[in-house]
Symmetry: C2
Subunit: 215 residues, 2 copies
């Protein structure tokens, strides 16, 4: 699977990756229920797509399932975890020790999925030096040295919008290649860096628009 995966990686769209995550959840649920196999129909139905799409998505990464028998739940679960890079741990730095940062830090599934927060930064003197679990909040001035020293894979940015770009420029400068941004702002980053945004305000505005359009 690995070599197919590497070769295919360049043409895998973000929406395909999102569907893989959804299939993963369906499979985890099926596994928890003790199911041995699952059909592409069932996987599609519970993942909110079509069975043709399921087969197309999975075919990008190898040959899974047997005609008429469906997919082996444990095998496909293992393969998707491997494809998504969830069969290992990732070293995460949290920039911003505010409310969102705290919610993230205490989110158990984060750790369970292999995302281990190794260092927390803030610029607020009243937060610096505080204990967060086994960690101590460090001043953001130490960010560059600490990201290298801790061999950080992923930076989670949970800071106000007006400081996000300058922080992300510093993070990118250290060679970090993956950023999860919670600041409600469109960040400029090089193509070589993977960026995902979690933007609650944007989603709320979408709901507000939908409600407004119907009145």
């Amino acid at each position: 699977v690995s070599s197919l995966h590497s070769r295919a990686a360049k043409r895998i769209s973000e929406s395909t990756v999102r569907r893989l995550s959804l299939y993963l959840r369906v499979l985890q649920e099926a596994s928890a229920l003790g199911l041995d196999t699952i059909s592409s129909d069932e996987l599609a139905k519970r993942g909110g797509t079509t069975s043709a799409q399921v087969r197309k998505d999975l075919s990008l990464f190898g040959s899974f399932g047997k005609r008429g028998l469906g997919y082996s739940v444990p095998e496909l679960l293992g393969s998707i975890r491997e494809i998504l890079g969830l069969d290992r741990t990732w070293r995460v730095a949290l920039v911003g020790a505010g409310k969102i940062g705290a919610a993230l830090f205490s989110y158990r599934d984060f750790q369970k999925q292999g995302f281990h927060i190794r260092v927390v930064f803030d610029s607020d003197p009243s937060k610096i030096g505080r204990s967060w679990g086994e960690l101590v909040v460090r001043p953001d001035a130490e960010m560059e040295s600490a990201l290298a020293e801790q061999q950080i894979d992923i930076v989670v940015l949970a800071v106000p919008a007006d400081v996000a770009q300058s922080l992300v420029d510093r993070v990118v400068g250290t060679g970090v290649r993956a950023i999860l941004n919670f600041a409600p702002v469109k960040l400029r980053i090089p193509d070589s860096v993977a960026l995902r945004n979690v933007d609650m305000a944007l989603e709320l505005e979408g709901l507000s628009f939908a409600l407004n359009s119907r009145q």
Copy 2:
């Protein structure tokens, strides 16, 4: 603008609405800097798109800007706020008084943008009855009656994945037409209900995939 908006609403894509939110932020920034006008080029550059796209998006809602002069910042700001339904307040219920719920509740911008949390529910007896600001956490058994009584527009679902679907079924049953879901699960809802998801785990898996593909 309103009548154009209503007529156009059905063919407005989710990605157009997302770009409107981004234009809004650029305009808010421009306004804070005291700028009177902004060109479609500048709006595009700072919103991460092209000027042709900016003009196309805005043309769906009316006629804005003057050739060679650009857009009036306060006028376009007002119009986009109106289009997005941000010129009024929305009554919000929070279902789930855990860590994510607490982070949301204390998020000042939420209130500032017109999203007012009117009621909080949980099923955990140790949380029910606690004071959250001026509110008291109520048992989720009271959800149906309270949603109607409080004339709730938007329900924010901040609950574990395994209870999300049954809660959303109950919410939909009360006639609520907009849901913001934080549970890491694909919810099934009728087409008449607007649903947006904030799914941190999905975004993290996307980053993990990106890092994994490059190694």
